[in-house]
């Protein structure tokens, strides 16, 4: 067990210990807070995927002309869609042939409108497919954003709070030191006064004796 020579000694040795404990506690608190934030973010980071969002933005022209052209040119088309597109056009042409208008202007207009609408629907379908994915990505990012912010705010509160705690320890340690200094001065002064009083008392006795002797002569 540690022994201390004085209150000053105790305080000078215990204050750094107390400050160290506080700092360590705060570090641990920060470590756990960061672990908590990371634990919250980790599963979300695994599914954090902005590809759908980027493709959506590219198709809509928000990433430039080149990206838009590339995105539209690379929309995957299923065999079913390809077949459906072909059959719809074939059906139009067969109907026109049946009525003897295979090479007519009405067939030309109808065919062009059909092909244009098919391509527009094809792009719209892709945008519709991307839409829920984009919403999910947005939701994931929103949650991650909230977790990040809350985590850091918590850390900032720990850091700010530690300042006050450290300062209180320092001030708290100063109080007994001050009391010790005051008490020391008081005791020393009282000793001096007491000693002087004793001497004065002796002098008074001597004076009294001198007076008595003077009276006797």
């Amino acid at each position: 067990m540690a022994t201390f020579e004085s209150i000053d000694d105790l305080i000078s040795r215990r204050t750094p210990e107390a400050l160290g404990i506080l700092n360590q506690g705060s570090e641990e608190q920060l470590r756990l807070a960061r672990l908590g934030t990371q634990a919250g973010l980790a599963p979300l980071q695994e599914v954090d995927d902005l590809r759908a969002f980027e493709e959506q933005q590219s198709i809509l022209g928000q990433r430039g002309a080149e990206a838009q052209e590339f995105a539209i040119g690379n929309i995957p088309e299923s065999q079913f869609d390809t077949e459906l597109r072909r059959r719809q056009q074939q059906q139009l042409m067969r109907g026109a042939a049946a009525s003897g208008e295979a090479g007519g202007g009405a067939t030309l207009q109808a065919g062009q409108q059909l092909a244009g609408a098919q391509q527009a629907n094809f792009i719209q379908q892709r945008l519709a497919q991307l839409s829920p994915l984009v919403a999910a990505s947005r939701g994931i990012r929103s949650t991650m954003s909230g977790l990040s912010e809350q985590g850091r705010v918590g850390e900032a509160q720990i850091q700010s709070g530690l300042g006050t705690q450290l300062a209180n320890i320092r001030l708290g340690a100063a109080a007994p030191q001050v009391a010790s200094i005051q008490r020391g001065a008081e005791l020393s002064g009282l000793q001096g006064i007491s000693s002087a009083n004793q001497q004065a008392s002796r002098n008074n006795q001597l004076a009294s004796l001198a007076g008595t002797l003077a009276g006797s002569f």
Binding site: G61, Q62, Q112, S145, Q159, S160, R170, L171, A214
Partner: protein
């Protein structure tokens, strides 16, 4: 005459004793004063270190709070895009057909239908029919335009919501920095106030010391006056002759002088 000398010596000895008491009291007062100065110094050092702790920790808190804003906003930054809204507004107000690669691909599909049919493939070119084919392609683009405007508008709304979220994050960030500044000031002043009771105690100690010194001085003056008064009385008594012409203690007819 020797009796007078004895009385004076007695008073002198007594005065020395009182002076010593006064000096001891003054020394005690000095010690208390020095102790108060030393204590104030200890408090000031503790206060300075405490204030440094507060400043350092709040600087860290400010940095972390800024990270909170940066990291949080960074997650949503891709979704915070107001350019789609500006574009959608221009397209809605101008009632323009969708452009870019979307329009090109729709137009091309429309033309591809013609070129892929042997019945029409010869019509493409700078002929009235060829021009009609191009016009039909543009019409296909115009027909699809409302759908794509809606898509662009949805994206624009999402971008606006993201921008609003980021703006709120940044606003909260500034609010937090303000809170930290306020909290820091409160913490610093609290440390100063925390020193208050102890400084007040020192003040009381200093007052006590002054009082002690003052009382000692008063006692000394009173004691000295009393002693001198006593001496004067004693001497007067010793040198005053009685009704028979004898000094005090020398009357041979006074029985008391021989007991």
């Amino acid at each position: 005459m020797p009796s007078a000398i004895g009385a004076v010596v007695g008073v002198g000895v007594s005065l020395i004793g009182q002076r010593n008491t006064k000096k001891a009291s003054q020394r005690a007062a000095d010690k208390q004063r020095n102790a108060a100065i030393e204590s104030a110094d200890v408090l000031a050092k503790a206060g300075k270190k405490g204030e440094a702790d507060i400043l350092r920790q709040n600087a860290l808190a400010r940095h972390t709070s800024e990270l909170a804003t940066i990291e949080s906003a960074e997650q949503l930054r891709p979704f915070a895009d107001t350019s789609a809204f500006k574009r959608a507004t221009d397209e809605f107000l101008g009632n323009l057909p969708v452009g870019g690669a979307i329009a090109d691909s729709i137009r091309q599909s429309s033309i591809d239908f013609v070129s892929s049919r042997p019945e029409f493939s010869g019509m493409i070119g700078n002929t009235p029919v060829g021009q009609e084919i191009d016009r039909q392609g543009d019409l296909a683009v115009s027909a699809a335009t409302p759908q794509f405007r809606d898509s662009l508008m949805q994206s624009a709304q999402s971008g606006l919501a993201g921008a609003a979220d980021v703006a709120q994050i940044e606003q909260r960030g500034f609010n937090r920095l303000g809170d930290i500044a306020g909290s820091e000031a409160a913490q610093r002043s609290s440390i100063l106030i925390g020193q208050g009771p102890q400084l007040a105690q020192l003040q009381t100690g200093a007052d006590d010391a002054r009082l002690l010194s003052s009382v000692a001085g008063q006692n000394f003056r009173t004691g000295a006056t009393e002693q001198i008064a006593g001496l004067a009385g004693n001497l007067t008594q010793q040198f005053t002759k009685d009704e028979f012409g004898f000094r005090s203690g020398q009357d041979p007819f006074n029985q008391g002088n021989f007991n």
